[in-house]
Symmetry: C2
Subunit: 354 residues, 2 copies
């Protein structure tokens, strides 16, 4: 099946629904080549242009690591959280994990032939993209459940890993795992080099992101907080124990779910938070509400030439993913959160660009 790229005439509401739905469910490894960079000789953040955004990051780190600073944070207390989709890698026009789920359908039907003529699997198998994006939410939930649950955690990891190795983004013709933002990899590296423990806090599936997070971002599985389903412990016929992924939502890690997920999985308030959409609002508010220096950053997708441009906050087209609303923009301005302009703040977007 070819990658799903919606054409321009699609039903936006349904696409929005796909975007909204996915984070409430889901869960890749890869042979990706985009990984944490070594610190360059010219100082940190070499892919960033000088400006307010770069300065905010540098100022925050200096204030929190300087032992004479009133904002000093003990090394063991340094926590930074990053949204993934649209903040660390490309989310437009569709979350990578949604593409994964749709492309997994043929394999699921091969194992369960009784689904071949049953909706929504029939529509997905038809390859008719227009029909696919019009599927109602209940049908999409069935696709997510069928492709993300009902197998052991090892089977899921192996399937996701295999897909990531072979799937290609249709615009850049590269593995999805190469579509990470070089400037953000530099921020991860800079914070890590200064003692920060880094977490991904994503609306996407925890198990999915954990498959590739170490290789792509240098972030181990236990530092990925995402939307998570339950598992069920059981024994194989030979007595060997296994865990089955269940279609039971434990943590909807988006919007208010992000600070709730941070409490569940980390148990303390972060010092720095990076996001790009209304789904990150509460995470930034929760981060900002602590004492001392606080870094609150929002990525604005305003670079149609090098990536994408969307977000009504900046007078750009709305998108079904990463909604940067005028209200969020107002809150950011009012509260002094820093907006990162991909167009103006970043010298380059991707590692593969030279």
């Amino acid at each position: 099946m070819k990658p799903i790229v919606p054409s321009s005439g699609i039903n936006r509401r349904v696409l929005l629904a796909i975007g909204a739905l996915l984070p409430a469910w889901s869960e890749l490894l890869l042979t990706g080549s985009a990984r944490a960079q070594t610190t360059p000789e010219g100082g940190p953040l070499p892919s960033w242009n000088d400006g307010a955004a770069k300065q905010a990051i540098l100022d925050f780190v200096r204030a929190t690591i300087d032992q004479s600073s009133p904002s000093h944070v003990a090394p063991e207390d340094r926590i930074a959280v990053f949204d993934q989709d649209g903040t660390l890698w490309v989310e437009h026009p569709m979350y990578t994990q949604v593409i994964y789920c749709l492309e997994r359908v043929p394999a699921v039907v091969a194992k369960k032939p009784e689904l071949r003529n049953v909706e929504p699997f029939k529509t997905v198998l038809s390859g008719n993209r227009e029909a696919m994006v019009k599927l109602p939410i209940r049908d999409l939930e069935k696709i997510l459940a069928a492709t993300l649950t009902g197998m052991s955690v090892e089977e899921f990891n192996a399937e996701a890993r295999k897909w990531l190795e072979t799937a290609r983004d249709p615009r850049w013709k590269r593995p999805y795992t190469e579509l990470v933002y070089q400037p953000m990899l530099e921020v991860l590296r800079y914070l890590r080099d200064n003692g920060y423990k880094i977490y991904i806090v994503t609306g996407g599936g925890q198990d999915f992101v954990r498959v590739y997070a170490q290789q792509v971002y240098g972030i181990p599985p236990e530092q990925v907080v995402g939307t998570a389903g339950g598992t069920k412990f059981g024994y194989a016929k030979d007595g060997k124990p296994f865990l089955t992924k269940e279609p039971k939502l434990l943590l909807n890690n988006d919007n208010a779910g992000k600070p709730e997920g941070i409490h569940l999985m980390i148990g303390r308030r972060p010092n720095a938070a990076f996001g790009n959409s209304v789904g990150d609002r509460q995470m930034l508010e929760w981060t900002a509400a602590g004492a001392g220096a606080r870094l609150k950053m929002l990525v604005l997708h305003d670079d149609a030439a090098r990536e994408y441009a969307y977000g009504p906050a900046a007078g750009l087209p709305a998108s079904r993913v990463g909604t940067f609303t005028p209200e969020l923009y107002d809150e950011a301005k009012k509260k002094g959160w820093t907006v990162i302009s991909m167009k103006n703040d970043w010298k380059r977007i991707f590692t593969f660009e030279q």
Copy 2:
């Protein structure tokens, strides 16, 4: 209110129920003095007598850190998990957190006077221990809900911290946080010094253990996996965000819930696991089922003089906590898990003993 110590004539079934119930609910900081030790000059594990248990730990670490060993584990993949109650600190005759909940009742009633003459609060306020231990499970659930939920996460942490500073175990007349096992602190230190990332995986409340884990065990909040309730994000009148602890169970981290919790919170299989009861069985099985060297250890409470003696596996009295059944003993023998005899393997039990 005095600490609750059941007398000998109590209803064991109900006490068992308290024990079984608590892990399915709950969630401190302290001025404890029992912390990770510096490595002594005489080598690791100085409080351990030579024998099979000490040797199993030494052999495992040597095999997994030696790069020429077929069992070598890369430093970033080294994970060790420890049950808490009965494995790292005293659990008998009643889990410390249950004592906390019962002793919190007067403060809860002070804030909500309407509960004063309502059961089960009335009975707990009476101070009648016999009556308290006979409370039905539904009543105990009410006590747990009232004392562990309905407040902000910061309020909970402050209350638990305060209690831990002042509460004293009636046998040793010391803070509960000093009742940790010195030999196990040495194991934590030894594993940590050899690159192991250490997690507590407890049936007790995640939020409760997180309050003191750093100070007592050198384990940060994010490396405590426990029974966890949900939280709810909201805003105070001044607009400041807060998280409220809700009476909603997310993770019952006991028995099969332990490997499920490990998957949720860590996302990969541990190399080493320490427990002491049937609630740890699945965690040890899950740990043992991976490839390469695996350390599986069970603490047996067979030292009535220096601590307690219970566990029908060894012909000792049954206990409502930490049930070491004959079946678990058989499984350990059959599968080559190592049983630690507190009486024979440990030179001393507590840090305060010299």
